[in-house]
Symmetry: C2
Subunit: 189 residues, 2 copies
Amino acid sequence: MEKHQLIIDATCDLIAENGLQATPISSVAKEAGCGAGTIYRYFETKEELIEAVYLSLMERFTSACLENLDRTASVREQLNTIWLNLYHYMREVPRDALLLDQLSVAPAISAELQERGKRDLKTTIDPIFTRGRQEGSIKDIPDDVLGVFVYGGISTLLRTDRNAPCVVPTVVTDDMLLSICWGAIEKRD
Amino acid sequence: MEKHQLIIDATCDLIAENGLQATPISSVAKEAGCGAGTIYRYFETKEELIEAVYLSLMERFTSACLENLDRTASVREQLNTIWLNLYHYMREVPRDALLLDQLSVAPAISAELQERGKRDLKTTIDPIFTRGRQEGSIKDIPDDVLGVFVYGGISTLLRTDRNAPCVVPTVVTDDMLLSICWGAIEKRD
DNA sequence: AGGAACAGAATGAACGTTCATTCCGTTTTA
DNA sequence: TAAAACGGAATGAACGTTCATTCTGTTCCT
């Protein structure tokens, strides 16, 4: 495998396990099986490495969320797919869920980088919300608000469970989760 | 004011503004108007200081959320009060919202400390959920799941807005917010 | 005077980053 | 073809900086 990617992977593992401020370059080098100096052949600074880690993480989230998405299906079916994809990915790959928690408060992650990381997902989801709103099945509230609220709920739920385990995985079925998510955004008369 | 509290306050301000890893003791000392050594008269280690900061933060959140709570009111009214209190507090005191973001991924904050920080709030809210469930107005889903989901939605919404401002404060009315929160947890037939 | 409280310089460990050197595969030369 | 020359990837010891913590002399209070 490419050294570039090897270094990124090692950094992902270490930050998820130990946190950002407990992940010195020296330990990344050891984990990646190279010398510390080598890392600086691929990344000018540690900050740049972190940025690369963040973008690779967001790519994985994006493709996980969009997996098996049938873009001809109904609004409801499409959102169900995306939300369950997100929920399952975060449960199955806690490393990436932990990593996202760490990076979302890292000073190295600027506002534009965040925007870049979310762009692909947003350009898929926002039209679904828009359509749902036109069809009258979704509340008249901006895309961002609806999307972010649901995302925040799911991610916080799983984060809490990671800290004090055993509540969520055994109790929250897919149906429950979707009922909560839909309740939040659904328009009722 | 007590030096003890002065040091905690200075630390709150600096962590909220600069992040935890950009808040050395030396800068806390300067902000608090004392020498670095003085801090160690009140806190044995920096970690202990961070723990005190966290507990003081959670006290403020707790009392903000429970303000004007009428414990004889209906389930719906009580939850409305709590959620709006939370929403308004996080909007009005962004320093504390930022601080919570930083501390919730800090290694100094252990799982038990988190539990202690949330305890008072939970012992008030959980019975409200339980009652709502008995009355048939709230979904048959554990307290933790419902509470955490709503909290996560609100806090993530405001965090996102802080990074790319202007969406939320002007657009999301109290009614909208409550409609989202209630939709998530409300039982419908 | 005597002891507690305080300030800030001193200390040593840990970190990000640099750089002189080594290593290794490829190209050139005879 | 064999060996010499080359170039850039890789290395890790060394450097300068920053930080938490300690030390030491001073100030304040009673």
